[in-house]
């Protein structure tokens, strides 16, 4: 039924659960699975320069940290998928609008299902922050499977 599933992950346990579900479905349906991690672009402190360089050591450190977090999140996703007996491709992109990056990735890879955790942030941030999942659902032309892992006991 589904040929290419995209699962978004930020390395959190909630997302790990989403990856597990995505992988289980992919395995049963013989679908490709791609895990996506969106590195947050901090436009307030480090807006990208036109020539693409990093102007300060703080900026360099920030970008390095996000790249490390991204690699780790994707490595964990591959592991979680393997535990379900499913191969997993990885994709890392950088954006200040995660929902946009997710939607773009799904479109560019020709995915036909997006899997996301319901919430990626905790506590007050969760209530005040914008729900990336809701933004993806609002704009997606393809189905979105929302895993409410964070709410499960």
């Amino acid at each position: 039924m589904y040929k290419h599933i995209l699962v978004a992950t930020d390395g959190s346990p909630a997302c790990a659960q989403a990856v597990g579900e995505a992988a289980a479905i992919a395995r049963v349906q013989g679908a490709r699975l791609t895990a996506l991690n969106v590195r947050p672009l901090d436009l307030v402190h480090y807006p990208p320069w036109e020539d693409g360089t990093e102007k300060s050591p703080e900026e360099k450190a920030y970008r390095e940290r996000t790249r490390e977090d991204s690699d780790r999140a994707l490595a964990e996703a591959v592991k979680a998928a393997a535990a379900q007996g499913c191969a997993c491709e990885t994709l890392s992109s950088e954006s200040d609008l995660p929902w946009q990056a997710i939607a773009d990735a799904a479109a560019s890879r020709g995915c036909d299902l997006i899997v996301m955790a319901h919430h990626m942030r905790k506590g007050l941030q969760r209530l005040l922050g914008e729900s990336q999942t809701q933004q993806v659902i609002a704009r997606s032309a393809i189905p979105v499977l929302v895993i409410a892992a964070a709410r499960m006991a």
């Binding site: 039924m1 289980a24 049963v28 319901h118 809701q134 189905p143 979105v144 929302v146 409410a148």
Partner: protein, 147 residues
């Protein structure tokens, strides 16, 4: 993997597409499928002391609501049958459809919910349909939101 999928329908075209998706998913995963439609219980809108306003007989209302609900579900079941999937149907009363859907999922032991992003009011005004939004907010089960 999902063993028992619950698909919610309000009879709208978008809902029907969700039912078809749920049926295909159930078939591909070898899962059971239950369709649910939440209908309104009879709630008197006001108390009229003047005696001029026509009172709706609660029984008449309930019968009509149940009939409409079952019609929706029978049509939805036919859609599932097109995908060669057998399913149970459940008509429930709920003041808040989202609550009814989640309670139904719990009662039937479902492990996933499928519903359309929008229902009867269509895609126009809201970013996400109101009941779908509430199901997403309160559900502990995975929810597949179809377009």
């Amino acid at each position: 993997m999902f063993k028992h999928i619950l698909a919610a329908t309000d009879g709208s075209d978008l809902s029907s597409a969700a039912v078809a998706t749920a049926a295909r998913l159930a078939r591909s995963l070898g899962a059971k499928l239950t369709l649910v439609n939440a209908r309104e219980p009879f709630v008197p809108a006001y108390t009229d002391w003047s005696g001029f306003a026509p009172m709706i007989d609660p029984d008449v209302f309930d019968k009509a609501a149940l009939a409409a609900s079952e019609k929706t579900l029978v049509a939805a079941k036919a859609l599932a049958a097109v995908e060669k999937v057998d399913c149970d149907i459940a008509s429930i009363t709920a003041l808040a459809p989202w609550r009814g859907i989640l309670e139904c999922a719990k009662e039937y032991g479902c492990d996933a919910i499928v519903m359309a992003s929008h229902g009867r009011h269509g895609i126009g005004a809201l970013v996400l349909g109101s009941e779908t939004q509430k199901v997403l907010t309160h559900s502990t089960l995975p929810v597949l939101v179809t377009r």
